[in-house]
């Protein structure tokens, strides 16, 4: 996993609540392999018409937002299916952070596993950021994970809350497996005691 870098990038607004992972990546693409790349499939059916032409009204098809690396969504972003390809699609397109009122719990976990930072801010701040981005297409948001701040286009700074554990791994670019394998002995000792307690498992 790549370490999470200081992020000063174009942000795109997406106002709809309950954007489920079926919208982010339709199920018919899920047989693909991780390394084949998923960015071109992101939001596929929202982004492209039946003939494959980009839908001009979709936010990422508007030239000012095409280089966006931060998405400002609404409530319950990434709800639904556990498909990690939703995160892969966002990441491969270039997104490194999503700001929302709330996230689907599994999407939230999956994001950290891939270096995509999910940021929860209060509803009124998320709405204000979206409105600024709509008024000034192409405006930047700055995410400083180390300092735990988000700076909006108008200079307003919000605190971002992140679990210290997740922050540590993101900044180091360490994934969970490498970290956990350092605790092999603790796992083995736990399993031995546990299986003595509940031998029928």
């Amino acid at each position: 996993m790549e370490p999470f870098q200081h992020l000063d990038a174009v942000a795109a607004p997406m106002a709809a609540p309950n954007v489920d992972t079926d919208q982010i990546i339709p199920a018919r693409f899920l047989w693909r392999k991780r390394h084949e790349g998923w960015g071109h499939l992101l939001f596929h059916d929202l982004r492209f018409a039946d003939d494959g032409a980009p839908k001009p009204e979709f936010v990422l098809n508007r030239s000012a937002y095409r280089e966006a690396r931060i998405l400002v969504a609404d409530a319950n972003f990434g709800c639904g299916s556990s498909r990690e390809a939703a995160v892969w699609s966002l990441y491969d397109y270039g997104f490194r952070a999503v700001i929302a009122v709330s996230f689907g719990d599994i999407f939230f976990s999956n994001s950290f596993q891939n270096g995509l930072l999910p940021i929860v801010l209060p509803a009124e701040r998320v709405a204000a950021l979206r409105s600024e981005l709509e008024q000034r297409p192409g405006a930047h948001i700055v995410v400083d994970l180390a300092a735990e701040t988000v700076r909006g286009p108008d200079g307003t700074v919000d605190r971002l809350t992140v679990d210290p554990f997740r922050k540590e791994l993101l900044l180091a670019g360490t994934d969970d497996i490498s970290f956990t394998l350092q605790h092999r002995d603790a796992i083995a000792a736990f399993e031995k005691a546990y299986e003595a307690d509940v031998p029928w498992i």
Partner: protein, 465 residues
């Protein structure tokens, strides 16, 4: 200190707890399916093997054909996913209920059916409907591919403990009202994000009176209310369900297990971060009209008017949903014509679901294409032993082989663009059953009522006549 069921299971599985609360949990059961190939590949690329093949069980479900049990007619990419699972399971010594095995089926049907899912366990699977297994008193939750690889490699997961939420449903369900209606009513009440960040414990006399099948249906849709996990404390119904199942404990172990399981309840004075109460008597047969499960309403209701929405965001969402669904505000739900019916999925494909469906189908005829897809080979065999397949076939239903099928269409069982499907599955998202497909979620009894009338229908009217 008084603790909840979640607290107890959590504490019993905590290997390491960091000062910030991040906990390394030991995993009792890991269920894998034919969507797991990226996780197995990630493991292999790192030179790692499966740490606990004895705690890992596999069955193909998402990509399996339901017309027949062989893959000769399957498209290469679908066949590849199933063959991949076979190969990974064989190479890792993981028990596989493969396509030719009668025990094959939807992973969330197979786990409880085999007695793999037991009270007090932590059960994970790379599928958001893993909460299903919480019905037997387990902490069960869905994970993504990276976490699947992590569990394969270490049999553990780093998690932050969710908050405790209790949903209490008390009272008797009216005839024609089923577990599916209860969970749809719950989601309509608390919204699709109402339980985000929480594990739900379902409690109350209504839940207690439900069979394990009914509880599985309720827990299954916890994720549609935002909760990664949903659970019901184990009781005599749970023990009776598990006794004698292939992977359930036996003999002295059984007695020890039951003694332990009996202790797995929330203390009477345990505090929940959030409490919600519903009155069972007020729940009617439910259907959804929109593109989120939270748009569930009683079949006797009309489609709401976006103009009455609380705010602009909600109004906009309702308008988009109605446009996609091609529906008009004010239309009675019972006037909506249906093109196709699907009875199946990890929500509603167990024997009790098929019995409820057969009761309505018996002696009637479908007027639109309709299919019944049992949740496992064993559910199918049981239904056939009871003659339910004959009732369905006589009524004009297609009787298929076990799999996820038209819930998500990954095996090619798709709803065509513009078609309207009454479906016993769990998601009515845009494009869920196929690009441009329109989904109305409902119970198996209500689905059959739609199949025999060609429109959304209050099944209570058919039960009366």
């Amino acid at each position: 200190m008084a603790t909840t069921l979640l607290d107890k299971i959590w504490a019993a599985h905590a290997i390491l707890v960091r000062p910030d609360g991040a906990t390394l949990l030991s995993i009792d059961r890991h269920l894998v399916h034919d969507g797991s190939s990226n996780a197995f590949r990630a493991l292999k690329e790192r030179g790692l093997g499966v740490r606990r093949p004895d705690r890992t069980f596999a069955t193909p479900d998402h990509y399996v054909p339901t017309l027949r049990r062989d893959l000769t007619a399957s498209e290469p990419h679908r066949r590849g996913m199933i063959e991949d699972l076979d190969a990974h399971a064989a190479a890792s010594n993981v028990t596989l209920f493969g396509l030719s095995d009668r025990r094959q089926g939807i992973v969330h049907v197979v786990g409880p059916e085999q007695g793999l899912s037991q009270p007090g366990m932590i059960i994970v699977c790379g599928d958001s409907h893993t909460a299903t297994h919480g019905a037997v008193g387990a902490l069960a939750f869905g994970i993504g591919a990276s976490e699947v690889a992590h569990v394969l490699a270490t049999q553990t997961l780093w998690q932050k403990k969710p908050k405790n939420m209790r949903i209490t449903v008390d009272g008797m369900l009216a005839p024609g009202v089923h577990a599916k209606d209860v969970i749809l009513a719950i989601i309509a009440t608390i919204s699709a994000a109402g339980a985000t960040g929480h594990a739900i414990e379902y409690a109350g006399s209504t839940i207690r009176a439900l069979s394990i099948e009914g509880r599985l249906t309720i827990c299954n849709m916890s994720i549609e209310a935002g909760a990664r996990a949903g659970m019901v404390a184990p009781d005599e119904t749970t023990f009776a369900y598990l006794k004698g199942r292939p992977y359930a404990p036996e003999g002295a172990d059984w007695d020890r297990a039951v003694a332990h399981w009996t202790s797995l309840t929330s203390d009477a004075d345990a505090q929940f971060d959030r409490e919600v109460r519903l009155d069972a008597a007020e729940i009617a047969p439910m259907v959804t009209w929109g593109t989120s499960p939270e748009t569930a309403a009683p079949i006797t209701a009309r489609i709401p008017d976006p103009a009455s929405a609380a705010d602009a965001g909600r109004r906009d969402m309702m308008q988009r949903a109605l446009a996609y669904m091609d529906l008009k505000p004010g239309t009675p739900l019972a006037d909506i014509a249906i093109d196709r019916v699907f009875v199946g999925s990890c929500t509603n494909s167990r024997i009790e679901d098929l019995r409820a469906a057969a009761r309505v189908a018996n002696g009637r005829r479908t007027v639109i294409p309709a299919m019944i897809v049992p949740g496992s080979g064993l559910v199918k065999a049981q239904a056939e032993a009871e003659g339910l397949d004959v009732i369905f076939k006589r009524a004009g239903f297609e009787w298929r082989e076990a799999g996820c099928s038209m819930c998500v269409g990954m095996n090619g069982d798709l709803v065509a663009a513009g078609e309207r499907c009454a479906s016993t599955s769990n998601r009515n998202f845009v494009g869920r059953q196929g690009k441009g497909a329109r989904t109305h979620l409902l119970s198996p009894a209500m689905a059959v009522a739609a199949a025999v009338t060609g429109k959304l229908t209050d099944v209570r009217q058919l039960l009366r006549s």
